[in-house]
Every structure is written in C-alpha cells, then in structure tokens.
Amino acid sequence: MSLYRDEGVVLRTQKLGEADRIITILTRRTGRVRAVAKGVRRTKSKFGGRLEPFSHVDVQFHTGRTLDVVTQVEVLHPYGARLAQDYPRYTTGIAMLETAEKLTVGEKEPSLRQFLLLVGGLRTLVENTHEARLILDAYFLRSLAVAGYAPSLDKCARCGSEHIRGFAIVAGGAVCGACRPAGAATPSAESLALMRSLLRGDWAAADVSQSRHRGECSGLVAAYLQWHLEHGIRSLRHVERESDAPSSVPASFGGNPATHPA
C-alpha cells in the first residue's frame, strides 16, 4: 500500500529540519499516524494552514520507510481557527488533544471510538454550549471508559457495595467504608453525581451543577486520568477556566492568577 486516504484530527506538530513538520494525527480508520508534511512551514506551502492542531481533515498519505508522508489535505472542520480566538477553550482543547495522543498508545492501531469521541468533544467545545471545563471532564471520563479504565461511580469498586464512603484512585473509583484505603478522597455526593452525569452525557444535570462541585469533580478526574495513564498531562496545568479571565495585571504583579493547576 503506497498511498492511502483517511479522515483525521491533527493532534500535534513538531518542527523538522528547515521547513518541514512531523504531524501527529488521529485518523478514523488507521489510528494514530505520524507523518511528515514537507515544506509546510513555508508561507507558500500547498498545505497552508490546513495541518494545524485541531484541524479535522481529509488527508492522503504516502507510506514511507520510517514515517509516512502527507501528500494532499482538505479541511473538513477548521476547529483551531475558532478555538484560538478563545483562550480558555483553546487550553481546554489542547488538553483533549494531548490526552487523545496518550490514550492511543500504538501507532496505526485503529481506535474509531477514540476518534469519534475527540471529534464530538471538539465540536461541542467550539459550539460553546457548555462550560469548557465540564466538556473536558466529560471527555476525560469517556475516553478513559473507551480505553477500559472507566471509574466505578455507582458501587464500591472493590466489593460492589452500594454504600459509597469515598473515592480511591488506586481502587478504581468509589469505595465503601470497609474497602476504603488510607488516603482516599471524600468527595460530596453532588460531585460524584456530576461525574456520573458527565460519563453518561446527561448535560441537563451537569449544566446546573454548582461551581464547588465542578472544582472537586475536575480535581478527581484529572488525578484519576493521570494515574491510569502513568503520565502527567503537561497542558493540564495551563488550562484556564472561563471564570478566571485575567485582569490587566498579571498574577505575578499581585492580580488574579491566570491559570489554575488541576
């Protein structure tokens, strides 16, 4: 197979040599592909702005010995152009791209559900119908579920009891009083309910949740994700909440902090 065509979302770009880039792209049929886009950094490149992160593209590759080569690209949805105009949504989207890359471990291993989940997540983020942080947490929970790491939220992850008394990342989710290991978190019932809503896609319930429960849910989901990935998500510490728009004085000048660690 020397030429093949697929549909994908650009996850990451890295500079290569004088004017090329290595493009990491999550495709519908082939899975995660790393390919060279030759001359893409030149202003008159035939690829133009089509191979920027977030771009949902129809792309043709030529199979190479080590890396494939991008030969043609058409944009299906230029999500990046919209997201770059909204800083909190941009940082949220980047965390989604990084997670998608980390959850698709092997190259060219088809992962259709991860692809569909990412496209759906980016579309929701661009449509601006829910708070960005809720979309991110919903994406994290569902992509973990697709990868086989869904947290147990209705019953104790160890014994199956319905009397939930805490949340232990190492145990795999909610735990009962008897199974609760030392150091387990004790989230409120509302925060656990929010996690359930996000995992199921019950936006009506998630949208009316309170800010403090969203914060608690975000902290637990981020810790759960990174523990199961065995890697930190680097962009997570730069994710900005929409309510955190900086004042004209940056944090280091004594103003409001611009970014919040997860």
Binding site: F47, G49, E52, P53, V75, A84, I94, A245, T259
Partner: protein
C-alpha cells in the same frame, strides 16, 4: 569511526540543527582542508558569540551591548511596540522597512502541550514597559499559526483593558500565489480582512 579530534569534531557538528552524520563528516573534512586563518576566525567567532552577545534588557532582542541598536535609536517611534516571538522575526520585519516603532521579543509562543505557559514568556517585561503610558499602540506580530494566534488572543485580552490600541498583523493570500491553491482558513481570513480599494 575516525581517530581523536576528527571524530570529536564530527560528533559536535552532528549536534547542530539540521546537520546529520554525513553532513557533519563533510563539514569536518572541509574545515580540515581549509586555510588555517579561516578556521581560527571561525573558532574566535564561536567563542565570542557566547561571551559578547546579550539579550537587550528592554526588548529581549539579541544585542552586542546592554541595549540593542533599535532601543538605542532615538529616531524610532517610542509610542508603538511590535510584539514578536523570536529575534529572527525582528530581522524579517526590519527588512520590510515599513515599521519605525520598537519591538518586544517574547522568546516563544504559548504552547501548553510543550509545557510553555504565559509565565514562561517575557510578558511581565512587556507589561512593565507599558506601565508609564508612553506607548499608545501594540502590534501583535506572533506567528500566524495556532500557537501564535492563541498567544495574540491571550495578550489582547490582557492589553485591551489598559486602553491601548491593540492590532494584529493581517493574514491572507501570499503575494504571487494562485487563489485556487489557498487553503480554506487563509482564504477565509483574506475575506475577513478585505479592504476598500481607494481608486
């Protein structure tokens, strides 16, 4: 494998960007056969670049003294600052001879996936420069890619409440190209930024 210093030179040259093992070997043998005076001059410049070149304390551009040539030049307009990612961008804009203001070099763009956030760039230094009220316009000339656009969005949100005129370099069709080959994003931008023909 070559002996001693020849192999060391090939190894060192191989660390440079874009130089592979074959190119390193070719450059090493070129140096070996070159005039000794030329090689000594190259060695001297390589030593001097680390000792003598500084970053301008005002704008962050590379400079031979504490302040760069542009910041020292009293004829440059002190009311306009052009914000760029790298020193290389200053040179590119200077070649146009269109801009007579001053610069501010950020030292990169916001890239959360690489772990680069706003605090890792020279944004604090920019805010200090703007504090005295002399500057009236800030031109955001970060790269027209996703990271550059996001950096410009972040800066615009920070600067607008200060009552400054904040502008962004136009993007659109490259001069000398064909319209049919323009990508959708670029062509869309060209439409957004279209101007009235004053004839």
């Amino acid at each position: 494998m070559y002996e001693g210093v020849v192999q060391s030179l090939i190894d060192e040259l191989g660390l440079l960007p874009g130089v592979g093992p074959k190119s390193a070997q070719r450059i090493a043998f070129h140096i070996l056969s070159a005039d000794p005076a030329d090689v000594r001059r190259l060695a001297q410049v390589l030593t001097e670049i680390k000792d003598k070149v500084h970053f301008c304390r005002i704008c962050g551009n590379v400079a031979a003294e504490e302040e760069c040539r542009i910041c020292r030049d009293a004829r440059r307009d002190p009311q306009v600052i052009c914000v760029v990612e790298e020193s290389k961008d200053v040179v590119a804009i200077e070649k146009t001879r269109e801009f007579r203001g001053r610069y501010h070099v950020l030292g990169g763009a916001i890239s959360p996936i690489e772990g680069v956030g706003p605090d890792d760039l020279r944004i604090k230094e920019l805010m200090k420069r703007l504090a005295d009220g002399e500057v009236t316009e800030v031109i955001l000339a970060t790269d027209p890619n996703l990271e550059g656009e996001a950096t410009a969005t972040y800066l615009a949100r920070l600067l607008k409440p200060m009552g400054l005129k904040v502008t962004r370099l136009a993007s659109g069709l490259p001069v000398g190209g064909d319209l049919e080959y323009a990508d959708e994003v670029t062509l869309g931008r060209a439409f957004e930024g279209r101007r009235l023909l004053d004839v």
